[in-house]
């Protein structure tokens, strides 16, 4: 059974970054050949360290950034060709920082009703009541409709952002670190709300977060990103119980659960996250990998598995032929 609402196939996004004074520009592959399906109704968690390309991927899904190569399909239609308004009807974002994601000069009512106005909704007389209904749903008192963002707390603002995203009944919501700017006690309120809204509206979530505990709690499937590639994908239970990629293992190892007496884990990852302009050869993770083998530094690891469960690592390759093949295709892509 496969019913993808977002199909990302072999997408690459390259930025030209100045390498230094008088040294010209160098390509930075923020997203480097990602293939990923988001199934209808699932919560796909995307995790990885900062600079791994997860936000760039989200921006491309939202149509805010065109891919350098590859295609993104949304509900069967290619994102690039579809109207922005069309995309907005299906897909809505919730951003990280509720302090900068709301226009400070607009009232809460105006902010929440903006999607209706942009979509040229045919029934302007219903806007007010629909805004009030959605505010009720996300737990905002009706009386704040004429207030301004600076009058609300961080949690309330994030509720406004959620109301704005949901008023047009999208199918998919992309949550980019939805709670990382919030206090612990507010974070749990927002996570609970997102859970409730999901079952209420049959939503599909793409949840981008560096907080693995949040991802574990919310997601049904997780994709782990490292240096522009997805290195492992699996359903949440499998991934957290038996991670396969050494990087996933290290990530999970560094989660600090509030259990006293365990001490701080040692991740053996080394200090430096590699410079994405100049990524390591072969498997880009090999300089930090605890299970590095000889050929990791010169051979690109093959992709093993498909259909939402995959890992990209030499440890799980069965024959050399496959490795060589993997290397060949990836090299071709990079050009």
């Amino acid at each position: 059974m496969s019913d993808p609402v977002i199909e990302v196939s072999d997408v690459t996004r390259t930025f030209m970054i100045s390498a230094g004074f008088m040294r010209g520009k160098k390509p930075l592959h923020a997203v480097n050949g990602i293939t990923l399906d988001v199934e209808r109704g699932e919560v796909l968690g995307i995790v990885g360290e900062s600079g791994c390309g997860k936000t760039t991927l989200a921006k491309m899904m939202l149509g805010l950034l065109p891919p350098t190569s590859g295609t993104l399909r949304l509900d069967g239609k290619a994102v690039g060709s579809a109207d922005r308004i069309e995309v907005a009807r299906i897909l809505q974002p919730i951003f990280q920082d509720p302090y900068s994601s709301l226009n400070p000069r607009k009232s809460i009512g105006d902010i929440i009703m903006l999607p209706l106005r942009v979509q040229n909704d045919p029934n302007p007389e219903t806007w007010q009541s629909r805004a009030e209904a959605i505010m009720d749903l996300v737990g905002l008192p009706k009386r704040v409709i004429n207030n301004f963002p600076n009058q609300l707390s961080g949690g309330q603002r994030q509720r406004v952002a959620i109301a704005r995203a949901l008023i047009n009944r999208p199918k998919i919501v992309i949550c980019d670190e939805p709670t990382s700017a919030l206090d612990v006690s507010v974070q749990s309120q927002i996570l609970n709300l997102l859970q409730d809204l999901r079952s209420e509206f049959n939503l599909t979530y793409v949840l981008i977060s560096h907080n693995l505990a949040v991802v574990e709690h919310m997601a049904t499937r997780v994709a782990v990103m490292y240096l522009g590639r997805i290195v492992e994908q699996a359903d949440t239970e499998t991934l957290f119980k038996s991670p396969r990629h050494p990087y996933t293992e290290a990530l999970l190892g560094s989660v600090l659960t509030p259990v006293p007496g365990l001490g701080v884990p040692d991740t053996h990852l080394g200090a430096a996250y590699p410079n994405p302009i100049d990524p390591p050869s072969g498997c880009t993770f090999h300089p930090r990998c605890a299970k590095v083998m000889d050929h990791c530094s010169n051979q690109v690891p093959p992709t093993i598995g498909a259909n939402g469960t995959m890992v990209e690592c030499h440890l799980y390759a069965d024959g050399l032929g496959q490795k060589a093949k993997g290397k060949k295709t990836r090299k071709g892509k990079r050009k």
């Binding site: 609970n192 859970q195 560096h210 574990e216 990530l251 600090l256 259990v259 365990l262």
Partner: protein, 337 residues
């Protein structure tokens, strides 16, 4: 217990704001022993950073500090002038800030800044200071330390910068390090490394550490003792085991229910929540500061001053009218989903 490095009694910080006097820190008491780690945990606006700044005497001009006792290493910090304080800062007590990006001066090489940190307080030559800098950079896990001395902050990643900051704080072998959210700006993997490093260095140099954070995971793993701060007050203090295994104050209990814990909270189930918002700290406040958000609130909470009381053990204290027995029962109760 050995002679404490830092002893504080009745520390108060008031800040003048247009609408009155903001009582940011109210009558907090604590002490830190040699080699001990105290974690102050709380949400934004609870006064935890102000507490740290007040110890360093780095408060904004509009703030005033008062205390009945403020002893570092047997020396009274009250009434010390700016000159004497700056002799202590970086020397006997050092601070590590949240943003490694902005707490290093971009105009000087890291070697320069490390040497300066030492020569400011010690009568040593450049060579000796440089040797110490290399020694400490290697200690904090920076490879090729001697070659790195000439590098500038922008050439280092966030994790490396925070390591440099830690090395800098250790240059003069301070008795006490204050770390204010030292890993909040960093990735989880780097966070684990930095915390590991801090713990190792604390053990090796027998430095006392005050770690300020909002992350209960960090607290549980690093702290010897914990102080939970809410609205300017300590609401619960005790050893890490006491606070995490038998949280007594309703706020601590609420916080611990709020966070998802892999393997413990059930996926997709509701997390606990603390309704309402932090009270306004301007002006005098009656009764329990947490009363407006507490699910066990009753009449006794609304008036007077709620004092800290001992839980089952004397070293575990909390600020609530409920008896330890009731609190223990509350902490076991399931969250209303």
């Amino acid at each position: 217990m050995a002679q404490p490095i830092l002893e504080i009694e009745n520390l108060c910080v008031d800040i003048k704001v247009p609408s009155g006097l903001l009582r940011a820190v109210q009558n907090i008491n604590f002490s830190v022993a040699k080699g001990e780690t105290l974690c102050i945990v709380g949400e934004s606006g609870c006064g935890k950073s102000i507490t740290a700044l007040s110890l360093m005497n780095l408060l904004p001009r509009t703030a005033t500090r008062s205390a009945d006792k403020l002893m570092l290493d047997g020396r009274d910090l009250r009434g010390l002038g700016e000159r004497e304080m700056s002799d202590l800062r970086g020397n006997r007590m050092a601070m590590i800030f949240q943003e490694p990006m902005t707490s290093l001066n971009p105009a000087y090489s890291i070697g320069n800044q490390l040497e300066e940190a030492m020569q400011r307080h010690r009568n040593v030559g450049t060579g000796e200071a440089r040797d110490r800098a290399v020694f400490l950079l290697e200690k904090v896990g920076i490879t090729g330390a001697r070659g790195r001395l000439g590098q500038y902050p922008h050439q280092l990643s966030g994790g490396l910068r925070q390591r440099v900051m830690i090395a800098m704080s250790l240059m003069c072998e301070p008795a006490l390090i204050l770390a204010d959210e030292p890993t909040t700006a960093l990735d989880v993997t780097i966070q684990a490394q930095i915390l590991h490093l801090l713990a190792d260095l604390r053990d090796e140099f027998e430095t006392s550490l005050i770690l300020i954070t909002h992350d209960l995971g960090i607290v549980a793993r690093v702290a010897d003792r914990v102080a939970v701060m809410y609205a300017g007050e300590f609401v619960e203090t005790g050893t890490t085991e006491q606070v995490f295994n038998a949280p007594s104050h309703p706020y601590t209990q609420g916080l611990l229910r709020c966070i998802p814990i892999p393997g413990k909270t059930k996926r997709g189930e509701h997390l606990g929540a603390i309704p309402g918002i932090v009270p306004n700290l301007v002006g005098e406040m009656q009764g329990c500061h947490f009363a407006s958000r507490c699910s066990h609130v009753h009449d006794a909470c609304q008036s007077g001053h709620i004092a800290l009381r001992a839980s089952f053990e004397e070293s575990h204290q909390y600020r609530c009218v409920l008896t330890p027995k009731v609190c223990a029962a509350n902490s076991k109760r399931k969250v209303v989903a």
